[in-house]
């Protein structure tokens, strides 16, 4: 091979032959025998595991098939989705409020936000959920209103029917602390000149936030928020601490307590969690694309030649 290359350059020694430069280089590719070998080995291992798993009795694939679309499992999946959606709704709204309070020039607002984040991020979510479950033994009714007996309204939380909502609030409050930090990072990522330009055009604070700052912050906020939603979907399996037993994981454990066959039920629960996660990942991809406008050529590899095109 080396000889041939030498021959060619030798015969074109004058370098006046343009084809020497114009022709694309055709070189023999470097081989990676170890890479191919280890990849093949990996594939073989996976195949061996799958064929073994397909025949292994303990997985009990018949039971898997029997229960995977069981109405109780489907209902529990819906409950898990509701827990995720409602608690994320609380977390995102409260997170935005906490992030804004944190930026406020008022020291009281700043401190309240800081302490909230400190407490809810500093204790385990499982412990928090157990605590919220016991809340009704401390406060049988919750009063919302002005302090020292001013106007307001009370909610009785001692019924077992309120446990679902206690779980939602418990998960939401914990997550809000994380969302606050994500939102804050997003707001801080927007260049100061943007707020200034909007101000100079006569936009008020809220208009500036809504039309200029938040749309740009979203590009930074959405990817970690997507991760938080996926993470929340899985964290809902801890609501058994409250205790709520209608979610996907707890319900599938309950069924296996009747059938004495836990492994297929765990596989079923995992299947549904994985399916929802996959759907969420697709949704996240499209959301990120939507909010990357103006940055699209960087994030999504569109034709970079358009940059710096003349007038």
């Amino acid at each position: 091979m080396t000889n041939k290359v030498n021959d060619q350059s030798g015969s074109n020694n004058s370098r006046s032959d343009r084809s020497f430069y114009d022709e694309p280089i055709k070189a023999v590719r470097l081989r990676h025998p170890w890479r191919i070998f280890s990849a093949a080995l990996l594939v073989l291992w996976v195949i061996a595991f799958l064929t073994d798993a397909a025949g292994r009795e303990a997985y009990d694939w018949n039971a898997y098939g029997e229960y995977v679309f069981d109405p109780r499992i489907l209902k529990a999946t819906i409950i898990t989705l509701q827990l995720t959606a409602y608690s994320m709704l609380i977390a995102i709204s409260l997170g935005v409020i906490l992030a804004v309070l944190r930026q406020s020039p008022n020291p009281v607002f700043k401190a309240v936000s800081w302490v909230f984040i400190w407490v809810f991020r500093g204790t385990p979510v499982y412990v928090q959920l157990v605590f919220w479950g016991l809340l009704s033994t401390i406060y049988p009714t919750l009063f919302f209103g002005a302090p020292f007996g001013g106007p307001g309204f009370s909610i009785d939380i001692s019924h077992s029917s309120s446990l679902f909502w206690i779980a939602v609030v418990g998960l939401g409050l914990n997550e809000a602390a994380y969302m606050a930090e994500i939102v804050r990072a997003g707001l801080l990522s927007v260049d100061e000149g943007q707020e200034e330009a909007a101000k100079a055009l006569g936009m008020k604070w809220w208009a500036t936030m809504r039309h200029i700052i938040i749309p740009q912050a979203m590009r930074i906020i959405i990817p970690p928020t997507g991760n938080e939603v996926i993470s929340m979907l899985k964290t809902t399996s801890l609501v058994t601490a409250v205790p709520v037993s209608s979610d996907l994981y707890t319900r599938s454990r309950d069924i296996s307590a009747e059938t004495f066959n836990p492994i297929p039920m765990l596989l079923i629960a995992s299947t549904w969690y994985l399916l929802i996660t996959t759907i969420l990942m697709v949704a996240q991809y499209f959301l990120e694309k939507r909010f990357a406008r103006g940055h699209a050529q960087i994030a999504y590899g569109a034709d970079p030649k358009i940059i710096g095109e003349g007038a």
């Binding site: 000149g193 330009a197 100079a200 055009l201 604070w205 740009q216 103006g294 940059i307």
Partner: protein
Amino acid sequence: MSTPMVHADRVRKSFGTHEVLKDISLSVNKGEVMCLIGPSGSGKSTFLRCINHLEEVNAGRLYVDGVLVGYREVNNKLHELKASDAAHQRSDIGMVFQKFNLFPHLTALENVIAAPTIVKKIDKDVATKKGKELLERVGLSSKMEHYPAHLSGGQQQRVAIARALAMEPKLMLFDEPTSALDPELVGEVLDVMKTLAKTGMTMIVVTHEMGFAREVADSMVFMDDGRVIETGTPDSVLLSPQNERTKSFLSKVL
């Protein structure tokens, strides 16, 4: 004699203990183009930012078109303006920044029509029609759908000028509009500004472009260390400066 467009009366401004503006008094008449020159750190940009209340004045009075900036004066006592009133005050003062500060998530046209539709609540079709005319005026009719990242610096600054003009300002402030540009792109921005000056727009321009200043400006102010050192026509300031500091500055930049 009509009210001046901008009237500064013994304006002072400090950041902490550092006094950036020390006793600035000057007037800009309607239709006048004034160029502010001076070494960096002399307070030119800060003064410009005080005019549309992006910075608060610490002492003295600043009037735009006869109206006190940032405050209401009742019985010799100043009251801070509500944020919404301050925003309203800014809406007819256009500002062009050194770093353009275009909204990167909006196209050139969307940048131009954002403020008219959001602040003035002008119908989107009407604003779009006017926005297109403005972009044509700055020579960017083929770039309306481009995002800022797809435009050169000169093109971005021209969009920024169109964006400011879309609010139909009575006064335009330019804060070193060509300082962040590659040398070959400076001309296209200055051309747009020259055309604008010819339409009778009142302009205050912080700049280092002495050629532009001589050609376009009606008056020139040299600032140093937070004070107005010398005022006059561009020719008198540039060609026969009276003050030693002006002379020494000009000897470095010309």
